[in-house]
């Protein structure tokens, strides 16, 4: 009789330890999740603009996407293959695509927001621009320094809500 009682007590002990462990882990996880906030709209846009700027500095896929048909283009990148150099031909093709089928360019750039991409020289002259005009209030801007037509210029990327 005594032996049976002892066995039962041991079972309850192990059960309690496992339950406490699960409860503790769940409590810690809940606390961690509750203390972290989701991204704000601005932060989401900023992250997306950062990602877009890196895509734009790549060559895109296929590498000569500027000379293939719309449905063969997978990724729109403006790079020439040299670090930070933007191809004028690719920029012109993006402009053309954006004016003919703006929705498609958003898909190819993998972005949810409207965009404007401009190349600006040191005197603030816009050398080339593609996408929506800048009118909306909620705008995120990222600037990258690039080589355009063999001289330094700014690649300004705007995301518009």
């Amino acid at each position: 009789m005594k032996k049976e009682k002892k066995k039962k007590a041991e079972i309850f002990g192990i059960d309690l330890i496992i339950a406490s462990f699960i409860f503790g882990a769940a409590a810690i996880l809940l606390f961690h999740l509750a203390s972290t906030k989701p991204y704000s709209e601005t932060e989401t846009m900023l992250k997306e603009a950062e990602k877009l700027s890196n895509i734009l500095l790549s060559e895109g896929y296929p590498k000569d996407w500027q000379s293939v048909s719309e449905n063969e283009i997978k990724i729109v990148g403006l790079g020439t293959g040299r670090k930070n150099e933007i191809s004028k031909e690719k920029m012109e093709r993006l402009k053309q695509l954006a004016s003919n089928n703006y929705g498609l360019t958003k898909e190819l750039l993998s972005i949810r927001y409207d965009y404007n991409i401009s190349i600006v020289d040191e005197n603030k002259n816009i050398l080339s621009s593609a996408g929506k005009p800048l009118q909306a209030e909620n705008i995120i801007k990222i600037t990258r320094i690039v080589i355009y037509e063999k001289k330094p210029a700014l690649l300004e990327i705007y995301l518009i809500k």
Partner: protein, 170 residues
């Protein structure tokens, strides 16, 4: 019978906790800090890329083209190497070349400068670096060369130099 109720309720509570944790964790996106410093790192990295990628002879800039035509520049080397060479022989030319190349940065309104071996070559800034709360430095090297000929171009002797782009915030 009582014990059975106890175990059933215990199991249900445990299940409820597990389900609520899973549901909560799948609906809540965790936040990874968006670092605004990343944007400044881009500026530093891009500037360095432009200076190392562009060669003197190909650069579409009237000041540099003038130097090329008057044979005052080594034709087939990167701009950063040319700036480093000028720094040893003619500091004002080094400063001018640096300013010509980083000119577009001026309109961004950011504080940025180029240092070579801890010597300031040129900067565009609204506030002094001494008053900066955050400085983002990005270092690279210009490897040394002897007085040699590369692709039929005479490249003057140059000691290895540490090149640094600094971006700073008030």
């Amino acid at each position: 019978m009582k014990r059975a109720y106890f175990f059933v309720i215990d199991a249900l509570i445990a299940l409820l906790i597990i389900v609520s944790v899973i549901a909560f964790s799948t609906t809540t996106r965790t936040r990874k800090e968006v670092s605004y410093n990343e944007l400044f790192i881009f500026l530093a990295k891009d500037s360095l890329n432009v200076l190392t990628e562009l060669k003197t002879f190909e650069t579409n800039n009237s000041y540099i083209q003038g130097l090329v035509q008057s044979n005052n520049i080594t034709k087939n080397i990167s701009l950063i190497r040319q700036i480093s060479l000028f720094l040893e022989t003619n500091k004002s030319k080094a400063k001018r070349l640096c300013e010509e190349m980083l000119k577009p940065l001026n309109i961004t309104g950011k504080n940025i400068g180029l240092w070579i071996n801890d010597e300031l070559v040129c900067s565009f800034n609204k506030t002094s670096i001494d008053k900066a709360k955050t400085i983002i430095p990005l270092k690279s090297f210009v490897s040394g060369t002897g007085n040699e000929t590369i692709h039929n171009v005479n490249v003057p002797k140059l000691e290895t130099k540490i090149v640094e782009i600094r971006v700073w915030l008030e």
